[in-house]
Amino acid sequence: MNRKKSISKLLIYIILILGAAIMILPLLWMVLTSFKTVTESTSMNPFIFFPNAWKIDNYITVLKQNNFQRLYFNTFAMMVLRVLCSVSFSAMAAYAFARLAFPGKNLLFGLVMFQMMVPAQIFIIPQYLMVDKLGMRNTIFALVFPGLVSAFGTFLLRQFFMGLPKELEEAARLDGCNIGQIFLKVMLPLTKSGLVSLGIFTALFAFKDLMWPTIVNTRADAATLSSALAKIQSGYSVNYPQLMAAAVLAIWPMLLIYIIFQKQFIEGIATSGSKL
């Protein structure tokens, strides 16, 4: 019995470690290739796993040919603005939907639900035409535009507000707080985990989004990291070490943020699932 148990335990660790290796290997390969020369990367016999010399030439070339500073700025600005707008607007709407009575509430909440059920591509052409008509293509505004408000965020945070006890508001009301004060000073601090969860979600999906920045910001200096990568790929399609250097440059900020805030990330995602 004991032996059987330890064998099954060993098996479990083998599965877990194998799985972890599969998860890491492509990213490791990305980093290793980025330091190789083209000859090294295409050498099959002998096969070269580690670069002979860790040369940063590929990074230098890629950084020279592309304005990564600009790309970091664009991507970061888009993420921050989307998070600020969608989290604050969603929190406001979510509180009202969870706790206040007002005319048209059900209809308006139906609107929120409806938006969540529709595939996002259906909005893209008109959104593009709007940005175009405003003359705002190739701007940060264009990148932020579709993410100004969030139906998903409104729905998610509403769940958080509904989970809070009603007595708190009653007590605050008796203390003479108006609704705005109750929302800001009493309820909002209590939904911190929900706000963090939505913030992470919004930032992550803004960072990963490819179609919208590709469509709306076609100028190279207005692109995001994701959309710039797509262009870089079609630019030097055969030089894999340089492509990998570009990919590393594009993903390291988010990876670093994830590693620092891994607990918040994973818990944020987990709570979003259990709340919906």
Binding site: V112, Q233, G273, S274
Partner: protein
Amino acid sequence: MPQASMAGKGKISKRKCNEWFWGLGLVAPTIIGLIILNIIPIIQTFYMSFFKSGDFGKGNIFVGLDNYKKMFADTQVWSAVANTIKYTLIVVPVTIVLAMLLAVILNNKIKGRGIFRTIYFIPMVAAPAAVTMVWRWLYNSKFGLINYVLNKLGIASVNWTDDPNVAIYAIAIIAIWSTVGYSMVLLLAGLQEIPRDFYEAANIDGASLFKQFRKITLPLVSPTLFFVMVTSIIQAMQVFDVIYMMIDVTSPAYDKTVSLVYLFYNNSFKYSNKGYGSAIVMLLLAIIMVITVIQMKVQKKWVKYM
């Protein structure tokens, strides 16, 4: 507050007015945003699907149902529907089974549990554009790591990205690799809500691990599982990034891999026929609606809410 309105009418209606004011004020930014960004665009997309976009985007011509007629006769649209469904049928079950397996394992007392969870989630934070680039390199038919390993094992090289019969599986592998950690985290959170005593009782009764999984774990985690399934299916039906980054329009595997959203993108923005693109996205909407309705119906049969 209907109960309260019995007493002191003047005072209450003032309070009610105040609540109306705040309620409408707080939802206003979101609702106005949703109307401008989503509701009007839906109507516009539907409207545009009856027009043919003029050259250089100028002068749209009303063509009635022509876009739809063209679409239903377009073999590429139907292969895109087939590709999208095939892709979904590969990615969603495999991802969910793997995610469930990992979640069940990690729900036990395991050394390094946190580290494993962190590692499995890593692909989720990498941009699909970058991820697809490295996979393309891994898949490279001459110099790719995967074919190198296959050759060492005595298996012939596979033309992962250009072989029309293989490419969709290559794309599916990338998608599974990217999302398994996400589903796992959600399922793990669901599993952790199941009270431990359920398993202890089952152990005393001598129920096998498999039976415990079927009788306790599966029913109790079914709401989470349902959520993961619905969102994964919707996500998979909208696949774009990986295919866009991996398969060029000129690739021999294009017809066997192009998804509905990729086709929509190409027609709307590459070929600038926004009317036809709109018709394609209406088809996608219809398909997703049908699938969602079916899921809602079937859910009653297997999802157990406590």
